[in-house]
Symmetry: C2
Subunit: 448 residues, 2 copies
């Protein structure tokens, strides 16, 4: 540790009270070990030095953005060093002409978009935690979000990376152009690798022109089937929504809406085509249209109640458990047409297990976020929550889906991942991990 | 070979006259060895058997779609077996509701789109060779094309894969949903791997709703700078073109247009917004607008002269060399803003080297296809062509671009790849190759 103190000065901290702040994340997965210290690098050179030191000393490294991950992706599993990218948060270059921005990993997605909005462009990946999530964390976790139905996830928006691998090598990957075919696609291997292959020190992100305008509706449904069917009908009409989100009845009520299923449906349109689009949506949507919006800003505002899902769930939980509750926001994905069946099975499972359930998600890409909670320290509650997570993971697999859409595997879903993938796929992933991190020092205990 | 005959019957062919048809491709890269035979598998089981046989006997395998590749990606470099996927060309499933199609690798992209058009959906990747290019070839080469500025390349449109690795393992990768986070992203490692990591036996492709409508203009310019600037101006006006293509003066003339730089600019719009968009494009575009189109079909038709670039180049070449010419269609990419400078330097290089040059490309994503030719058997011509390819690759690197945008590395650009990438990146790529193909039997001599 003396080496670290000498190198990083007051940017190395080993005060135990402070350390506890950096050993946990937004999920209920708890650290299974105490970190030895937290380091705040300010340059790529420092990251290189640190990983080489860790490689020599075989010290585990846990890289961290803002720790909003929900699957144990950042929790400390062994005595090691937490690397916080808080101080590497600069925007290096914004190039709207060439559709890219170069940024450091600690930059918050929202800060990036504030800067980009000056140029009429934006970065479309929009996770629920967008206000605090960092670029590096979003890359590590392959983040998605509210605009995923139209714009996809991080893998679609990272053009190039600089990263330090677990061998202490600086790896330059990808390019600054929208297309490049320069050997194997290392960039997308890093996206979603949860800090297990390398530490990203700089990213080239693709940026997009802001939609010209939009139209949106908020509609109530008594049946989730009809709601999902309507989203499919919209797409059949050759309309590709910008967002298609839903809330369950209890959640809708909690955010100030009617106690029914709520659909939030937004479509980007050409300037001047808003009214026509609204008319068409009214013709397709069979739910009770309660609100309409015209223009991009107004359409995005209409989505605000949906963004309150997290606070609503906290409120629902607190009403039952006071401040003693632990919230578990889960993440599965199924083909869109299987969404009603998935919801039926998830509800049935929660009822059978007698655990609380709150529902919301992204209809446009089949991504469901079943949420439950239990009292802190309630071991039986924790056990049942884990069993529930396993159960809904199996439901997703059974319906041709996946155990995670955008939260990743972390410590929480390693067993589920083994159920979804073949043993062969797992073997190849382990071999890839060994290429980048032969000593297993990077975020050990995650994914595999 | 007796094993192969027994297993594949008349779907194993070793007649030398026939073999020569399967040992070359659309590029001028020549086979440096004769294949031992061609195999036409009809099932995944047969592909598995074949690769396991090749692994045991250490026999090289060269997989092939329709051999339209342009960088030596499919040429035979050692005595080995060519695997043609011609007979694995089925559409397994089209699921417009869930936005995917499951297909076999030998299916032609155009056939896929004919089928998809019945459902009002399409597969957006649209390489120049779309009429003959296969799904498997497009995956292997990470194909792009005319709609790349809006829709990206193959890496953005492959959701899941089944493939047989060089160890003879069946690997299932990815998912059927628009998002999934199930471990490392093996799918995109395979996209663009040019048959060096495994043989794809089935692909799950993402499909998109067809644009509702479109508007397009064809405009002439005396200066390429102004043409490129106008595309940038269009994007600054928050218009994200569906296509933005150009032809050089000689090529424009050859396809029946004026002898000036031609811009083909199409924008997808909402139904009813076509006229307004045309008006806006007219306001932005400073070139001489010679043609306008309204509606998706008409807008795509306006692009037809651009699609004739290949035949135009063949005609230009034949006028100089008769039927003795060899055409070399090159592929570099630079940031869009650097396109005029790239063209200036490429033209200057061709003039200095006194070699013919024809120019066209994708303005929307900075992808240039400089084309040259020489007489078959003219060793000095071939040498100069190779020097030219190296020269324009260096120009691309010097302007912050890449030595290939969508044609890949193959045998042709291995040295250039080493100039673009760091030695560290090359080392990691070699290590990845070893994971999937430790004996080096899959498409040897390519990429690395």
């Amino acid at each position: 540790m003396r080496d670290l103190k000498r190198k990083f000065g007051d940017r190395f901290i080993d005060d135990p009270a402070f350390l506890s702040l950096y050993s946990r994340e937004a999920s209920f997965e708890e650290a299974s070990a105490k970190p030895l210290g937290v380091v705040f690098p300010t340059s790529e050179e420092e990251v290189l030095w640190l990983v080489r030191w860790a490689y020599e000393t075989e010290t585990p490294i846990f890289s961290q953005g803002s720790a909003t991950s929900l699957s144990g992706n950042t929790v400390v599993t062994r005595p090691g060093i937490v690397v916080s990218f808080e101080r590497m948060n600069k925007i290096v270059e914004v190039n709207p002409t060439d559709s890219y921005a170069v940024v450091q990993p600690g930059l918050r997605l929202e800060e990036l978009n504030v800067e980009l909005s000056r140029y009429g462009v934006f970065f479309p990946v929009d996770p629920g935690s967008v206000r605090s999530a960092t670029v590096g964390g979003a890359i590590a976790n392959g983040a998605g979000g509210m605009r995923g139905a139209k714009y996809g996830t991080m893998r679609d928006w990272v053009l190039g990376l600089r990263a330090v691998t677990g061998r202490g090598d600086l790896l330059e990957m990808g390019c600054r152009t929208l297309k490049c075919r320069n050997g194997y696609d290392l960039v997308r291997l890093f996206v979603g690798s949860e800090g297990t292959l390398g530490l990203v020190t700089e990213a080239v992100l693709r940026i997009a022109p802001m939609p010209e305008s939009a139209a949106a509706v908020l509609a109530y449904y008594d049946s989730l089937e009809t709601l999902v069917e309507d989203v499919v009908r919209v797409r059949s009409a050759r309309i590709w929504p910008l967002f298609a989100e839903f809330l369950g009845p209890a959640e809708s009520k909690e955010v100030g809406l009617e106690e029914r299923y709520t659909l939030f449906l937004g479509v980007d349109v050409n300037r001047g085509a808003e009214r026509d689009m609204l008319g068409r949506l009214r013709g397709i949507v069979r739910g009770a249209v309660a609100e309409e919006a015209v223009g991009l800003d107004r359409s995005m505002e209409l989505l605000e109640p949906r963004r309150k899902l997290f606070s609503a769930q906290v409120a629902l939980m607190q009403r039952q458990l006071g401040s003693e509750g632990l919230l578990i926001i889960e993440d599965i994905v199924v083909p869109v047409s299987k969404l009603p069946e998935a919801v039926r099975r998830v509800v049935e499972l929660a009822n059978r297990m007698e655990i609380p359930l709150s529902l919301g998600g992204h209809v446009g890409d089949g991504n469901l976020h079943p949420t439950t909670w239990f009292r802190k320290g309630d071991l039986e509650g924790a056990r049942r929550a884990k069993a529930f997570i396993e159960g809904i993971g199996k439901i997703a697999i059974g319906l041709g889906g996946s155990v995670s859409a955008e939260h990743g595997i972390g410590t929480l879903k390693r067993d589920l991942l083994k159920m979804e993938l073949t043993p062969t796929a797992i073997e190849y992933m382990k071999a890839l991990k060994s290429v980048f991190d032969p000593k297993g020092i990077l975020n050990p205990g995650k994914i595999l």
